[in-house]
Symmetry: C2
Amino acid sequence: MFKTIEWTDDGVRMIDQLKLPTQEVYVTCRTYEEVAEAIRSMLIRGAPAIGVAAAMGVALGVKNSGARTIPELRADFDKIADTISQTRPTAVNLFWAVKRMREVCEGLLTVARGGTCPDDIGSPPGAPMNRGATEAEKIAVAKARLIEEAQRILAEDIAINEAMGRHGATLMPDSGTVLTHCNAGALATGGYGTALGVIRAAVSAGKKIDVFADETRPFLQGARLTAWELAKDGIPVTLITDNMAGHFMKLGQIKAVIVGADRIAANGDVANKIGTYSIAVLAKENQIPFYVAAPLSTIDMSLTSGEQIPIEERSPAEVTHWAGVPTAPENIAARHPAFDVTPHRYVTAIITERGIAREPYTESLKALSA
Amino acid sequence: MFKTIEWTDDGVRMIDQLKLPTQEVYVTCRTYEEVAEAIRSMLIRGAPAIGVAAAMGVALGVKNSGARTIPELRADFDKIADTISQTRPTAVNLFWAVKRMREVCEGLLTVARGGTCPDDIGSPPGAPMNRGATEAEKIAVAKARLIEEAQRILAEDIAINEAMGRHGATLMPDSGTVLTHCNAGALATGGYGTALGVIRAAVSAGKKIDVFADETRPFLQGARLTAWELAKDGIPVTLITDNMAGHFMKLGQIKAVIVGADRIAANGDVANKIGTYSIAVLAKENQIPFYVAAPLSTIDMSLTSGEQIPIEERSPAEVTHWAGVPTAPENIAARHPAFDVTPHRYVTAIITERGIAREPYTESLKALSA
């Protein structure tokens, strides 16, 4: 199998998702700016993977920082975190990961000013920080600890996906076709996947599932990524264009829909790749269950409704061209909202690592997040 | 402006819709087999345009026939009609046009055996055919009359579209955005268009309409053709991917949907380009009117429901590639139904050249077709 993202001594290594499926190429980002650009260009994409990349980008930036004092380190951290945070606005996992890294850093720096250090390198948990350490030593500890934290986020993400798989597999049909949109697979996460993780777990449990993958215009994550990773795994996959999904639902050929999410509001409204809302409406119209698989880090309890989720508008050139070939007349206007919001009334269940949430989501998500 | 299709002394001249929008190239088909291939390859497409092309293909085949006797001419006609009829199964206009050409031919051949000739060349209407004419002279009359009939079908088609425009314009909003799918424009007809004809008529009547065009995967008729012909006409057009339509409906940015049709059953079920059903469901969910504009020749009164309409399944390669560039891993399975059926309950009104039909369509379409 492949690794979507990993920490190496040289930097953050990622599979180049812009080159899939024709080439399997790995890129090593050696600066946090390169990590930011990889997120922005969608060389790496998928909410959980963006979260891991953000954490690793922060760790890489801090590692490379020449700060000699704690105030300098703190200033560098802020600059790095700002750059990473400005790459993409919708997936909340990015902000969640940066916040988690900031908390670790602040904890250490506070310790460095004389607090206690719960798990400091070289100190037993809860031991007071060595007050005699030099500022340089304290900075070295912070760097090491942030690198460790980023790797922990990756490892946790894979474990979370496997847990989601176990919960979600029970919802999958014993046999038949499951529709998915975009790529919520190993490529969208640290590994295993959210929606595709649930499908993997169901197949591992002996369910006879095949997958219809929407190609997912304009970036074709379904055609390029979902088809690629499922074929690699030996799970039967059939590619369709986005506008065919409703047709196959009406013909009774789809038993369930499962997708990932980029941000979920406290009421269960789901922001996900553009086109998800349409599929959810079509699923409801055809009495087909519509499932969302997402880690709790995707749930933004600060938002009461999906209407508050910022929707990224990307370049129209991604709509008017494919692989450099224009698909439309020159200078034609185009729109490119990268996400849409599916109101919770269309969502049959939300699968998380701690269990399955159903309506009323305001209560069920709160209980799982507690 | 451009001519989608026209009869010339050299053959049937068409704008090459496979080369649009990057090149405006015209092709002259010199044999009926070339016309059949142009329909099959979608060099010309759109139900009414296919009807015109089919009629011209028949006329061209008969013109080129070396038949010396009426039985030979009849045999040639059958061969030509069979070839043309086997190009594409869904658009009923093709079969309608071939049938109309056959009726003209049969009428003349019957006349040639001693009936009356209502509008024979050189004879006053209703005059008996010159019984002293040689068989060669009778064949020449049949050839000329079929060429004339094919050109008449083209001229009628344009007039019909203009009539649909006048009826349909009253349904369009005074201002705002109208969504269309695929290309039901001048390029899909003899000229002016069905759905885009209604938009043209509304704009001519002073309505401040702009158009959102679905790109319409996999063949991209919206991106390549609708965007091109509306831009050429100065009607504001914005390109979106198919999976964005629902998002913009939910945001309240679409005031009406209008599409064409490839075949309409007696109960009002509409076969049209794949993706139409999804848009219709989304329109209903968002309380947006969904209109279909189609000539009466698109209505197949022999079918009681849309379930009886044959749906063409085209090559999966059209789904897995774009402009020769693979969009998916090699050898991935794909499906390619070229059309879907929208049940009549989602259709707000059907605009024809004789007026507007509404539920119950079984009655309203019958009345208009009578």
